[in-house]
Symmetry: C2
Subunit: 341 residues, 2 copies
């Protein structure tokens, strides 16, 4: 079994530059197509060999009829169940995306970050990638785009650097507006916002929606950002700190589900009743929201349809269609539970 | 982008048979190696073209130095989070196996069953596969072995049909013995056993361990099998039926975590206290066990190490080593929680 060496990929452009010919000539020479004079063909072959050039596997597959390979990447480790907060989200996307990809003849590979820090793309010759809610400084997205690989982001990429990356819009602004409106309708007079610290579009849009609501309602602006790796303990600390400083808080909107569980734990320890004294709502309606005590009001993001849309969008790119820059997810739906009733 | 047609794969043997030559001759003719006379080479090429033969991609990768592709298969759908009971188990294995595979230069593809019933192996040209706790009649395992693909099972395959499939032994018998001994040590006098209905080795070994305990202790033999797709409702029904027929039950050993959550729900509804009136224990220590009310005593199966062992075993097979037939997982560890304290 062959394992490719972890070296930077030599591209067809490198071969063309070193051989002093065009990329098309290299392609024709190596693939035995078109008109290439024998001396040029030899020169190209020698250059390719000297540089250690391997033809792109996607190009090979186009010829051989093999199936494509796409990566599902995440800046969060694909760690153990019940660990990182975003694992449920990730795996819900993974399961549907794998099926959709397979129906289109594509193999979906789980590509976790390597502990060594090496780029997985030096090892795997993928044809394209899905990436989930990348932050502004996401290394994996930068790696993908630097290699010119087709990539589709689930959720708009954070920051401005990735403006050209097509994405499925998760409608984070409207989602947060809906949650805030729900909490207000249930009587909340002072809502606190708890977010992850990463520069994700979903957080930026949540902050914007929250600020607009604060301005319109006259509530105090009470928001806290936490490192996403802090888990339930982070949520407990956030609730304790915020309530100590602002005892008037009667509702928490906590975008990260595992933080929301921590908030619920602190409220219980502090003898506060949910929802009578303090309400809690979160975003992703995963197993954590459903199994929290009490169960948490959350949002159905229609991740099954989101995953299918992302695969469709990537499929367009792989076929070489300029295609759409962004598609919208179906409108998220509120799932009201005991934490706000 | 090329999508391979969903037709049965034409093998090199088919080409050899139709061309009236040996497999070695076909290989040499198509790869431009060895001594093949030009007329034979032409005949082989024409036959390969006529049959629609594509060289095996693994063989191609051996030549081109591309990375290998392995499948992670499961007879359970890779469905939404919080859905099927075994998803957490599956995804915990998937996350670690993907990392281990990548470190060995292999791409791990999630391969869910297709709704159409078509074999994913007609679409994806994988080099080998991991399969999780296949039952005796597992179609995916049969499909893999019929194609002669290297496969490693996580958990011993059910039944006798798959005797030759290498596996990581999950030590299901000792695991259940440990759980039963724990329940007895906590004072259980009548333990009921609840299992899934599939013919999995873990259930067969659990039944055996339970029967031995019943014989040794003089307890009544009270066991029930449920369709794994029934979820929490199945667990509630099982608890209701068993307690109605056998009110002396003071402990449930429920091998499927989602059933165990249903049992806890029924006990609460029936006004029975856990653990004072009835204890509950389950097998997989996933998020369901941890977030159940009360949290459930379960077993740390060391799935991270299990996944690495499985990748190692598959790697041996892919390299052509006859290798080991079975490796043992590390000894599972009891995680005692409120449901038995």
């Amino acid at each position: 079994m062959a394992v490719s060496p972890p070296s930077p990929r030599v591209t067809i452009s490198d071969v063309a530059r070193h051989a002093g010919v065009s990329v098309t000539t290299v392609s024709h020479a190596l693939n035995g197509r078109g008109q290439v004079d024998p001396a040029t063909r030899r020169k190209v072959e020698e250059t390719a060999r000297a540089l250690g050039y391997r033809p792109n596997r996607h190009a090979q597959r186009l010829r051989t009829g093999g199936s494509s390979m796409i990566a599902l990447m995440s800046s969060m480790p694909f760690a153990v169940a019940g660990g990182p907060s975003r694992l449920g989200f990730l795996m819900e996307v993974a399961s549907v995306a794998a099926s959709s990809a397979l129906e289109r003849g594509m193999a979906m590979v789980l590509v976790p970050p390597l502990e060594s820090g090496q780029s997985p793309l030096d090892i795997l010759d993928v044809d394209g990638a899905l990436i989930i809610e990348p932050s502004a400084d996401d290394r994996q997205l930068a790696d993908l785009t630097a290699r010119g690989l087709p990539v589709v982001s689930i959720g708009r990429p954070g920051g401005d650097a990735h403006g050209a990356v097509p994405y499925v819009d998760l409608l984070s602004g409207p989602t947060v507006q809906m949650l805030l409106a729900h909490l207000q309708a249930r009587g909340a007079r002072q809502i606190a916002l708890v977010l992850g610290a990463a520069q994700r579009t979903s957080y930026a849009q949540a902050e914007l929606a929250y600020r607009q609501m604060v301005d319109a309602s006259g509530m105090d602006h009470i928001a806290l950002r936490l490192d996403e790796a802090r888990g339930e303990a982070g949520g407990r600390d956030a609730a304790r700190l915020l309530l100590a400083a602002h005892p008037q808080i009667d509702a928490f909107l906590v975008l990260v589900d595992v933080f929301a569980v921590g908030v619920a734990q602190h409220l219980q320890q502090a003898g506060l009743r949910v929802p009578e004294d303090v309400m809690i709502a979160t975003r992703y309606d995963g197993i954590r929201a459903r199994t929290c005590e009490p169960p948490l009001t959350a949002v159905n993001l229609h991740l099954d349809q989101v995953a299918r849309l992302a695969i469709d969008l990537l499929f367009e790119r792989l076929r070489g269609n300029a295609g759409r820059q962004a598609v919208q997810s179906p409108m998220p739906e509120l799932v009201a539970r005991a934490s706000t009733r």
